[in-house]
Structures are given as C-alpha cells and as structure tokens.
C-alpha cells in the first residue's frame, strides 16, 4: 500500500481568494459596495462584507482577523486622501503589507495617481464593469500569493 505519510493531513483544496469589502466615510450609499460584493462572490471569491461607516482601524482589524488577500473600499464622501493612506499605514504597522488595497468611488484622476504612487492599488470609478475589477484582483492576488511563498 502506498500511503503518502503516516500522519496524512486532510487538505481541503486551493483557498478561494478572500476579499474584505468595506464602506468607509459617513455617507450611507452602499449600493455600489453591495453590487461589487455580489459580483466578487459570483466570481468564486469569499467576500467578507463589513457594511457602512467603517474607520481605517476597523477595516484593518477585520482584515487581520479574516486573513484576507485584498481589501476593497468604497468611498463616495471625498475622504479618500485620508482613508486610503491611513489604511495603508495601518496595514504596514500590522504586518499586513501583502494585502492588496483597492477600491472605488468618486475619486479624481490626479488623486488616483497620487494614491497609486504611494502603494495603494488601482481605484475604479463609477460605472466600471465589475469584470475589470475581478480580473485585476485575480491577477494581483496571484502575484502577491506567489511572492509570499
């Protein structure tokens, strides 16, 4: 009999991509976040949905407990230049710099570029087809998982 090892574990197969979807800021428009959450789920990802009015501290606490590959923040309130850098900073402090930080909302082009240069991932504007976001997350997470091995 050819047994693999005397204490063979019971692996469950490859891990689905896990994404935290959060709505930051004080506005109550979470439709976009919900649409994205549903689309990512339909693409085979495990989506941890945290709901409205999340602070950067809450988002990073959740990301570490849930051990996610990516964080998607929806932001319509104009606070993107404070929220994204703060989340990035907390991720680095918490040893979570492997986590992809992405998101979307109403964010001017020049702010997007500045955030991208600072280490935030791509940010998507309203009306972006969800397929674009899904492809991006799949590509980035595959890269990052490969790197951390």
């Amino acid at each position: 009999m050819s047994a693999p090892s005397p204490r063979a574990p019971l692996p469950r197969g490859p891990r689905p991509i896990r994404v935290l979807v959060a709505k930051a800021g004080l506005d109550g428009h979470d439709r976009g976040a919900k649409v994205v959450a549903q689309a990512l789920k339909d693409a085979g990802m495990e989506v941890v949905y945290t709901g409205l009015r999340q602070t950067p501290e809450m988002i990073v606490k959740a990301a570490s407990e849930e051990d996610v590959d990516a964080i998607g923040i929806s932001l319509l309130s104009g606070a993107h230049m404070t929220v994204f850098p703060r989340v990035l900073e907390l991720l680095e402090e918490g040893g979570l710099s492997h986590v992809l930080l992405t998101g979307g909302g109403v964010i001017p082009e020049k702010d997007r570029e500045a955030l991208l240069a600072s280490g935030v991932g791509m940010l998507f504007g309203p009306g972006t087809p969800t397929a674009e976001l899904i492809d991006y997350i799949k590509r980035e997470v595959a890269l990052r998982r490969g790197r951390s091995k």
């Binding site: 009999m1 050819s2 047994a3 693999p4 204490r7 063979a8 574990p9 019971l10 692996p11 469950r12 197969g13 891990r15 689905p16 959450a37 549903q38 990512l40 789920k41 339909d42 693409a43 085979g44 990802m45 495990e46 989506v47 941890v48 949905y49 945290t50 709901g51 501290e57 809450m58 606490k61 959740a62 570490s64 407990e65 849930e66 051990d67 918490g94 040893g95 979570l96």
Partner: protein
C-alpha cells in the same frame, strides 16, 4: 509534543497577536501540514474556554443574538472569539460572509475576535476544519468561544453541536416545531430560543416546543424555551446558557460531555484518514467494479464488498 520549543507563530498566537491567529485559522481552514504543526504545539492549551454554539434556520436572527451575547460576556469582562459559518455557493464556490456586518459595533471591540468561514461545498471538510478553528480560538486564550452556523445541513448542525452548550434559534416564520424536529435541530439543543417573539405565532411556537419536549423521555437536562426580540432581550438567552453552564459544572458533566465530543471527532477523523489512505491509487479498481455493476455482472453491493476484500488483501 511539549518537549520541543513552540514554533514562533504558535508563540505569537499565545501572545495575543491578531494577525498570527488570523493566519493560524487559515491553516485550520485548509487542514494542511501547517495546521497539524500548530495543533501539536497548542493542543495542551485547549479546553479552557467556554464554548457556545448557536444554530438555527437562516433569517431567524442568529447574528443579532450573537451580538447580544457578546455584549453580555463583555459586560462581565470576558474576551470573546467568534467563528461565523456561512454557506458557500455550490456553483461558483464563492461566498458572501455577512456576519461581521450584522454583528455591528461588537466586532470592533479589541477583546473580540471575529472570523468568518465559508462552508466551501459539502465535501469541503467543514466538519473537521471548524471544530479545529474553535480549538485554536480556545488555545489563543479567549474566555468564551462562540460558533454560529446556519442549521440547514447536517454538517453545520454537527459543528454547532461540538460546543459545551448549544442554543437552537427559531422564529415564527422559520416553520413549526415538527420541521425543527425533522431537521434534527431539537435533539442537539440545550437551550431553545424563539426569536422575533413580538411576531404573530411566537407564543404558539413556544407552546408547541414545550409540548414536543413533554413527549420525549425524561432527560437529566430539559432545554428551557426562551422567547427573545432580538438585541432587546438577548440577556434571556444569555441567562439560559449560563444556567446550562452551571449545570454542566456539577458532577463532572462538562468533562464527560467534552470526552464524548472528542471521541466522536476522533472517530470521524480516523474514518476519513483511513478511507483516504486505503483508497489512494485505487481509482482503476473502483472504475472496474463500477463498470461491472453497470453492466449487471455483479450487484452494486457485491461490487463494493469485493472491492473492500481486494483493498484489504
């Protein structure tokens, strides 16, 4: 086992490092070599937490009650680890894990740790992975470890049943007492909770549950039936669970229950490990026997028996 120094990630988990625990739970999810290593290092630290299971049909308000329970435990200064199990899509394998959202402010408390698991299909091994995840939360030092599952599949019900005390939550909309009996929910309940008690039919459901309990043989513990209206009086559920905890502490009942639970888990694990090893590399044999049954050369039962004989020869 305890003679070798603990690996750094196990040490980090014991120190209360959130990220290390998050990663450790991922190992439990995967049930891989890393999981084995962590469990070996931390097994001696398990058995200290009070474990509570919450299950019931979807939509009865389990998460809201869990939120209320967390509040009650936190008010007593106890730290709480939560494992929330939600169904994965059987088609895409994806899952929307929304419990964190429903737990609200409780999830942000620094002495509360919340982890969501997707069921990842019926063969995904949730029945093994989830109890080990509870072991890890226990070893990490949480005073209370809560597991919440939707009582829709046998596996989800079994996972909740590994707890020291199990609350089954129903609501007037979730069906009658007979349906709960059929689903196997009543037999695992230490506490029965009728939530959304302000809705029509709640009093009738409480009565029906009491009547169903009357029908059963007298047991040393009769599950109390409590009525709740969400967060407002989740304390009623909390108190019923605490009464059960006190009852368990008398006469070594808790130890006995845990030994039985571990015995059951051991048997399941051994069965799975055995079949995995015995069936490794036997696909051709299985295919051949299946073809014989399909072409009516043997009955299916005869095909199964002769396959076993051949494997064990």
């Amino acid at each position: 086992m305890s003679t070798t120094p603990r690996p750094p990630d196990a040490e980090a988990i014991l120190r209360g490092d959130r990220r290390a625990l998050g990663k450790g739970l991922t190992c439990m999810e995967a049930m891989d070599d890393e999981a084995l290593r962590l469990l070996d290092a931390l097994w001696e630290r398990t058995g200290r937490a009070r474990r509570v299971g919450i299950t019931g049909p979807p939509g009865v308000g389990k998460s809201t009650l869990v939120s209320g329970l967390i509040r009650a435990y936190r008010a007593l200064g106890r730290s709480v680890g939560v494992l929330a199990v939600d169904p994965s899509s059987t088609v895409t394998g994806g899952a929307l894990l929304g419990d964190r959202h429903r737990l609200g402010a409780e999830a942000h408390d620094p002495r509360v740790f919340v982890r969501s698991f997707g069921t990842r299909g019926s063969t995904g091994g949730l029945s093994r992975a989830a109890p080990f995840a509870l072991d890890l939360l226990d070893a990490a030092g949480f005073d209370v470890v809560l597991v919440e599952t939707a009582g829709v599949g046998q596996t989800e019900i079994e996972v909740a049943a590994t707890a020291d005390s199990v609350a089954v939550v129903l609501s007037p909309e979730s069906g009658d007492a007979v349906q709960a009996m059929k689903a196997g929910l009543l037999e695992i309940a230490d506490v029965l909770c009728v939530n959304k008690a302000d809705r029509e039919g709640a009093a009738g459901l409480v009565e029906a549950l009491e009547a169903t309990l009357d029908l059963g043989a007298p047991a040393p513990w009769r599950p109390p039936v409590v009525a709740t209206r969400g967060l407002e009086d989740a304390t009623a559920l909390f108190e019923a669970l605490e009464t059960h905890a006190e009852w368990l502490l008398e006469g070594g009942r808790l130890g006995e229950r845990r030994r039985r639970g571990l015995g059951g888990r051991l048997k399941t694990l051994v069965r799975e490990l055995l079949s995995e090893r015995l069936l490794a590399g036997r696909d051709a044999l299985l295919d051949a026997r299946a073809a014989e049954a399909a072409s009516k050369r043997r009955s299916l039962l005869d095909a199964a028996r002769s396959t076993v004989e051949e494997i064990l020869r």
